[in-house]
């Protein structure tokens, strides 16, 4: 009888412990597309053999829970116009919640995943992106513009 009471008491203690310490964090993601104008595009013109950085594209990320924090961001840059042979090297990104830029190597299929420098930071805000590239041709100038960039923000809240 005493053993039963002890087990019951222990069970109650366990339940109370988990009720007071357990919380649920939800994960989700949302995709935002940059506007088709200059402000939503990354454009780069390079002379033969030169390297450089593109213009900056801006995307407003809003409507997520106020306390949503980033787990990763994926930039899909599959809408482009180009001439010549510019090789995209790295994608740089910042948000209005962090005080600097972070980057990742240009991803295969023009999809680049970035988490370093963004993980755990607040998700709502203004995002800015640019890429660095090299004109691998030694003869002709080139240009490459990415527009309608699809930015998927993965977050916890």
């Amino acid at each position: 009888m005493k053993a039963k009471r002890l087990i019951s008491l222990l069970l109650v203690m366990v339940v109370v412990f988990f009720m007071t310490t357990t919380a649920f964090a939800a994960s989700s993601s949302k995709t935002f597309t940059s506007s088709s104008g200059t402000i939503g595009s990354m454009s780069l013109y390079l002379d033969p053999g030169e390297s450089g950085s593109s213009s900056i594209a801006t995307i407003n990320v809003s409507g997520l829970p106020a306390d949503a924090v980033i787990t990763k961001v994926v930039a899909d840059c599959n809408t482009m116009s180009y001439s010549g042979a510019i090789l995209s090297n790295r994608l740089y990104i910042t948000t209005s919640n962090i005080s600097g830029w972070t980057s990742a190597p240009w991803g295969s299929g023009n999809k680049t995943e970035i988490s370093a420098g963004l993980i755990g930071t607040l998700a709502n805000g203004t995002y800015q992106l640019y890429y660095t590239g090299t004109n691998v041709s030694s003869l002709s100038p080139g240009y490459k513009t990415y527009k309608n960039i699809k930015l998927t923000v993965y977050y916890n809240y």
Binding site: A23, A25, S53, Y92, G117, G120
Partner: protein
């Protein structure tokens, strides 16, 4: 009037802007210092090494207080000027000496004409800044700055949640508490 005097009298004095451009001290109508326009280190996203403004414990308390203030106003993160100032101060403790690195490197470009793109690196060969004609200056975070950013965010978000949801505010109708131990995909 002698022919040589006539020529001289008809040559207009060079415009100051044109002189600057020819000397490489002005680009796109912006003054250049040692080949570049000087980065504005007062900007939120331009961090350079600074002495800590307070102890780590005081920083922690200040971040928590800022989160409480912002939660009371119903704002969160970068939209708060207090958040931006405090984050910059917190991160700069771990920043490289960008000001010094850029100033030193820029001297080698003085008077070399138009410079379209430069990558600045620290002693560890990490990129710390870009200058380009397209974008001007962008400061690239080091791993130490990223770690500091992550620490700041964790303290701020936890305190913000406690203050905001502790007052009975809800998100999508469900009360949320901090110290999450489970993750549910939606």
């Amino acid at each position: 009037m002698k022919r040589s005097e006539w020529k001289i009298s008809r040559i207009k004095p060079l415009d100051v802007n044109l002189i600057n451009i020819l000397l490489g001290t002005k680009i796109d109508n912006k003054l250049r210092m040692n080949g570049f326009p000087s980065p504005d280190f007062t900007r939120f996203d331009f961090c350079t090494k600074t002495a800590p403004a307070m102890s780590e414990e005081e920083f922690r308390e200040a971040i928590i207080e800022q989160a409480k203030k912002d939660a009371a106003k119903g704002i969160c993160g970068g939209e708060s000027a207090g958040y931006r100032n405090l984050m910059k101060s917190y991160i700069s403790v771990a920043s490289p000496d960008r000001k010094g690195i850029i100033a030193k490197a820029s001297q080698s470009f003085a008077g070399k004409g138009r410079i379209s793109f430069v990558e600045f690196k620290d002693a560890g060969n990490n990129v710390i800044a870009h200058y380009s004609q397209n974008n001007g200056w962008t400061m690239v975070m080091t791993k130490a700055e990223m770690a500091r950013t992550s620490e700041f965010s964790a303290i701020y978000v936890e305190a913000w949640r406690e203050a905001y949801y502790g007052k009975g505010n809800t998100i999508d109708g469900a009360a949320i508490s901090s110290g999450s131990t489970f993750s549910v995909s939606v």
